[in-house]
Symmetry: C2
Subunit: 460 residues, 2 copies
């Protein structure tokens, strides 16, 4: 990882652009990776971006174009002549074209479709039909298709002929005369087998495939489970319609992970890099959650108001409110994050509902007992003996200790149940359950606290 070198690549490029030394700039970048060239383009004006783009060899230019920021793509397309646009489109895979089209305004889309070959237009239109986040929306239709009666030699010849246009040649797919997927052959199989062997004899016929409408996150997890570099996608009738490659699966994993992180931080996900995201975008992502959680605090406020006279009679109780609520909140979020991740990763299914609740209940009892002991001892040793808070006595310590115990149990059990129930009724476990769990656990911990106080300390 030559961070220093990468650094200087951008800096060197910027200096050369500044001095308009385009021949040297060409030499500097014409063998770089697309991701690194886009880091340069991100730092310059759109006009300079066009200049850089035009210095690139055709194939690299297409790669750079695919990974580019949508605004820059739009700017480039508008700067292109029709011939230039056609050259780019000819280099693109259909799935990348479909992705680009989804981000462009209508007039640009029209121009792209007018310039594309009829074949590409048809393929792209097919791809655009699949719902967002489905296997169909991330698959590519450009793969190597073999027949079972081909020899290894036939297959290698075919790869030599068509391979340049395929997104991967490392896994080839064997289909029958109805286009149904019957096996896979890897390039490794082909390279290591005698040339006269039949595909039928070397293919793996136990093939794991996904359906066009399957969820992209579940598919990405299959890549991690099986270690595949490509996965076939079939339609209702088991006809092979596309493949998903591992680089797209990694992108999906990254995207879904960031979404989950955002939800757990009570903010909507933002799509761009941190430094490129404007404060206003962050504001819009965060403020709804802050307002929602503030509404939830209304309930706790109402509960406290209700016990105002009791608190006035025994003011020491007020000091422990944050600790009681905090412990409830932390206990609950430990459980909810763990369960929500378990659901996301497919480790936890609804049939495990009671197993999960029972497990969290066991953890809660262990944690609750420890916290009960810690709280009681801490109140008596630290608050009473060390800080000389005379209002703290044995019964107050037991009251707070029992509250912490009961709160931990309630918080963990509720946090174990809600995400699973949310998932069951078709809602996003993270989005629905976090604010709901917070609201319920906050209110409950106060009710338990005042309940215990009424019971043990006879406040009323």
């Amino acid at each position: 990882m030559d961070e220093t070198n990468e650094q200087s690549l951008v800096e060197q490029a910027l200096a050369l652009i500044e001095e308009r030394k385009f021949a040297q700039l060409h030499d500097l970048i014409h063998e770089e990776n697309a991701a690194d060239i886009n880091e340069i383009i991100d730092e310059v004006t759109p006009e300079q971006g066009v200049i850089i783009y035009r210095l690139l060899p055709k194939e690299l230019a297409a790669e750079v174009f695919v990974e580019m920021d949508p605004d820059m793509q739009e700017f480039l397309i508008n700067a292109f002549s029709d011939a230039e646009l056609k050259n780019v489109l000819d280099e693109l895979y259909y799935d990348d074209t479909a992705d680009i089209i989804e981000e462009m305004p209508a007039n640009v889309v029209k121009r792209i479709l007018r310039t594309a070959t009829p074949e590409m237009r048809k393929a792209v239109n097919e791809l655009l039909k699949y719902p967002e986040d489905s296997a169909g929306s991330i698959m590519t239709t450009e793969f190597v298709r073999l027949k079972k009666n081909y020899t290894v030699e036939d297959s290698l010849d075919l790869i030599r002929k068509v391979g340049i246009d395929k997104e991967t040649i490392y896994t080839c797919y064997v289909t029958d005369d109805k286009s149904r997927l019957i096996g896979i052959v890897t390039a490794k199989d082909l390279l290591l087998s005698p040339l006269q062997n039949n595909i039928e004899n070397i293919m793996t016929d136990h093939v794991i495939s996904v359906s066009t409408l399957d969820d992209q996150e579940q598919i990405a997890l299959l890549f991690s489970k099986y270690g595949f570099i490509a996965m076939p996608v079939v339609d209702n009738e088991n006809r092979l319609v596309g493949i998903i490659t591992v680089d797209d699966a990694i992108d999906v994993l990254q995207e879904e992970t960031e979404e989950d992180f955002a939800k757990m931080a009570a903010t909507a996900p933002t799509e761009t890099d941190y430094l490129k995201t404007s404060p206003f975008v962050f504001y819009k992502a965060r403020i709804p959650w802050l307002l929602l959680l503030m509404v939830s605090a209304t309930f706790t406020g109402m509960i406290i108001s209700n016990y105002e006279t009791s608190l006035a009679a025994l003011p020491v109780l007020t000091a422990f409110i944050p600790m009681v609520m905090g412990t409830g909140g932390n206990s609950g979020s430990q459980t909810s994050v763990t369960v929500i991740r378990g659901i996301s990763l497919g480790e936890v299914e609804f049939k495990d509902f009671f197993k999960v609740v029972l497990k969290e209940l066991s953890v809660a009892v262990l944690c609750g007992l420890t916290l009960f002991a810690a709280t009681t001892v801490k109140l008596l040793l630290v608050d009473k003996l060390l800080l000389h808070n005379d209002a703290v006595d044995f019964t107050v310590a037991i009251t707070v200790g029992l509250t912490v115990f009961a709160t931990t149990i309630c918080a963990k059990v509720i946090a174990a149940m809600l995400p699973q129930l949310a998932k069951k009724i078709g809602l996003d476990p993270a989005v629905l359950s976090s604010p709901l769990i917070t609201t319920i656990v906050d209110a409950l911990s106060l009710l338990i606290y005042f309940g215990m106080a009424t019971l043990i300390l006879h406040i009323a």
Copy 2:
């Protein structure tokens, strides 16, 4: 994704084991994927696991062995004859052997090393020297090495000869006579080039490589940035010592993601699937954090005790404590999670310190103004007019509103700074900063609240 089929694979296998129909069991599983077979082994006794294992063809058996739970691996090795152990080891890649050795007790390690070939012993010992989480610890030493004067035909012949033992043949590495990495050639390049071409003419000489001591998470992110399927690892003198393959990179991404989730939920990460993790393991992962956060609540308790008489004089203030502290906590965690992820993903570096603080300050001002307005209006409309809480008047509403505004600003700025400072002094941003941010923000929000109350409402 044939969830139903997978389901029934395990069930079918269990039924066949129950009835001791091993011939049928062999037919059922001998073409399955390693991950699926391990799902069966997870459900049976270790003795039955050995039976299943012995039904597998040699190559598949090795794959299943590699992915198996370490306890089961140990059980199997102890059940193996020396000849059986040798057979397995012969099928394993060196990096997988090294991983297994790291999990085994000393006597098993001795037996493995005694049985391994001298060549494997040497390679494994080399791999075991690299620190945990480094590139060296996840790389494999089995790759295809080419010379620049080879022809395409030579190279394909070499692949046919040695390819079966290599972890990937899809990227081949070109080294000079000092073993220094000078280029890469993909199997696609080889298959699509004329046989008499020289490697020198078709290789890519701009190669991105990592060093043996580079951090595994940063490397995994490079896979996602560049879309590679393998990455070369070089030593200090640019000599090629190994490669990292995309499947291992995905595992690293998954593992690091789970660690980050765990830290943000204030729990230590657990290594196994949710349902397989015992309550006691969860208890040990969670209780230290709950106790730590409880200590942090001591400070808030002390602050409240300090203002006990003021609260007694104006009891309505108590009711808004949870809302004020909650808003501070939520504002802070929105920022800290976002910044911590930015650091993890390499989007935020220390040189951006002030950019980040300034951005979060801007977001905080926007959020703070909105929350100020919402709070004041809510107190006057809901608490005063609707709930007839006569203790709430205009000055109380302004006091709470201003507190929420100031708390939001402080929380976001502190949460923006601490993770970056933690990283700078070499600590884990998530582990250090979450409890520290909570403690500081909780205490600060109360101090601001009582400060505002003293200033505006003249409580004392």
